[in-house]
Symmetry: C2
């Protein structure tokens, strides 16, 4: 049944675990990384290209889709899966993070948040009920509750207020989208780097009962080591029997640290955004295409990679396309970077299932220091 | 042997013919349309996407490749085929057209043309010998002779001077790249809309003996009907036993007119450039993605099309991606438009071989008047 989550293996020495989350559009094998398809498209990828990469789940953004083309339009066109030509599981972010980023253009009160569209300035309103109703109508597999996400550093009072409002909104989201349907609902734990606050938030959300729990408010300005510590302290506070999702994170290094803490799901714009900026993630560290050292290299960007880009293109060719601003480099680099992240997750899952996770983590942490 | 051309079928009522041109990288079945990969990339397409579209031959541009990444670099990386990950036939334009477009930044004399790079302003020189030598070193299947291409309207004196210099340069190109190697050489007939001049140019080039002959200087400002008449008059002036190539042309309508005149090869930026501008060529006429009429359409852009884009995406989704400036729309629209042109050529060839060309031409001419 949609929403069932089974832990199929655990690492003995830490919190790492491999799981299976049942959705209406297939089983998500965790730990999993969700490519970001903000506006119903993973930037630069045709639907068949995304399908070939075979991610377990894809993320889209409620805020962006509300604004354009609108929930009515997508619902009338058969729902988000059909609209974007992606038959697998979809999770939508609630849009809270985006709305709260609209500094000076939004007003928050206990009922919800009023804001102006970044596209045409038209006035809009997001409430907990409206937000989950929009996601249900999009037909997604996982909806996220509307949360309040303050930027770090934030004062204790700001963090506490954010947690309190997030909990009240979470209850209203759950009431608007009760369990048992095809769209699951995940609650979001805020609290910044304050583990006491994170614990309180986690307990309040667990009492409401969601199909999954997310850690929000990370990777918003804090140093990586501080985030690793806080994630290590926060993840175990979330119910063990449910999937745990670390929102908007992160580097391969962030990911293996978080997996060790017991996190199951990740999303991040890094592989796709870096691809557009000519940075490839590889087994030998980051490859910056504009660097002259790649000018005459007939090797693939990552000699250890079996993605279509590395099987077919030299790094010198990718560099040429990047310098010539050829659109194909976006496709080629995005395919490679997503393959790199998805392959990292598949290897991570396999390592957990075969008792090799610690070794894999050490390899990943070492590789990230090389490159050029 | 590379350079062999066989006419395998003719239409009884006009000059249309189906042929096979043997190259070092496969047989080009004509009439054929060459997608434009100016800088060693068909804009927006990964090499495997281009391969799936299965064009008979691809065009690249000597001028652009000379400037970036340079012939030395491509030769050192194994030649243009390997560099761009395209194993099929490649024709390179000589670069003359691009150089002569650099108004105010080039100086022409009988030896060749001096110009400044549009990228960094550095001084460069293109001679007939240097031009074909560059193409031979790129390892292409068909090199184009360096020609002089005046913009229309041009005075009789300008046109005559262009033809005279083109003929002198053609002889030097042939001397620099004699027959028998893996790289064929095509001569280019200029002469504007003056059929007497075109005849003289064709005779001078035929006397030199090339593996193929091109009509240059069309689609440079003249009205379509004037071009159709001039092409109809010019194509039969080229040797019947060799492939005929109408450079830089054109619309489906231009193409069927030219095929009827006996033209075998085409190239044009139209399908790829129009794709980037949100215009799709379809069996029901042009589809302009920004038009509100497509907002709620769950149909493919072309219900009669079997390309990956039309099999998978609604025109409403394409419209959304276009309005949201999502990079994927370039891929999706380019795949569709090239499929449309390549499919037109396959149907044209089949029609010639089965005595149905006149009917196909009428269908194409009728479809081009619909759309929206």
């Amino acid at each position: 049944m949609s929403g069932e989550f089974t832990v199929v293996a655990r690492d003995g020495a830490n919190g790492a675990r491999a799981g299976e989350l049942v959705t209406a559009h297939g089983v998500v094998r965790t730990p999993a990384f969700m490519p970001v398809g903000t506006a119903a498209s993973v930037k630069g990828l045709a639907p068949w290209e995304l399908e070939r990469l075979a991610p377990e789940m894809v993320l889209a953004n409620t805020y962006h889709l509300l604004l354009r083309p609108g929930v009515d339009a997508i619902e009338a066109l058969g729902g988000l899966h059909r609209f974007m030509g992606w038959p697998g599981p979809i999770l939508t972010d609630s849009g809270g993070f985006q709305v709260f980023s609209l500094a000076g253009r939004r007003q928050i009160d206990d009922d919800g948040v009023a804001f102006r569209s970044h596209i045409d300035g038209s006035p809009l309103r997001l409430t907990p009920e409206g937000c989950v109703e929009a996601q249900r109508r999009l037909g997604v597999d996982v909806a996220m509750a509307l949360d309040v996400c303050p930027a770090l550093p934030a004062s204790d009072a700001e963090l506490e207020a954010a947690v309190a409002m997030t909990s009240r909104w979470a209850a209203r989201c759950r009431a608007a989208l009760p369990p048992g349907g095809d769209t699951m609902l995940f609650g979001i734990v805020q609290g910044g780097l304050d583990l006491g606050l994170r614990r309180r938030a986690a307990e309040e959300l667990a009492a409401i009962d969601f199909e999954g729990y997310a850690l929000g408010g990370f990777s918003v300005g804090e140093p990586p080591a501080a985030m690793w510590d806080a994630v290590a302290g926060s993840a175990p506070l979330l119910p063990d029997a449910r999937p745990r999702y670390l929102m908007g994170v992160g580097t391969p290094r962030d990911i293996v640290h978080a997996v060790a803490a017991g996190v199951d799901l990740f999303d991040c714009v890094m592989p796709t955004r870096n691809a557009r900026n000519g940075l490839l993630h590889t087994s030998r560290g980051p490859v910056v295409l504009k660097n002259a050292r790649w000018k005459a290299s007939d090797e693939p960007a990552d000699p250890a990679c079996d993605c279509p880009t590395c099987r077919r293109c030299s790094v010198a060719y990718l560099r040429h396309l990047y310098l010539a601003r050829e659109a194909a480099v976006v496709v080629l680099a995005t395919v490679h970077n997503l393959h790199f992240f998805l392959s990292l997750m598949r290897r991570t899952r396999w390592a957990i299932m075969t008792g090799r996770f610690a070794a894999l983590r050490d390899t990943v942490l070492a590789a990230e220091t090389a490159g050029g």
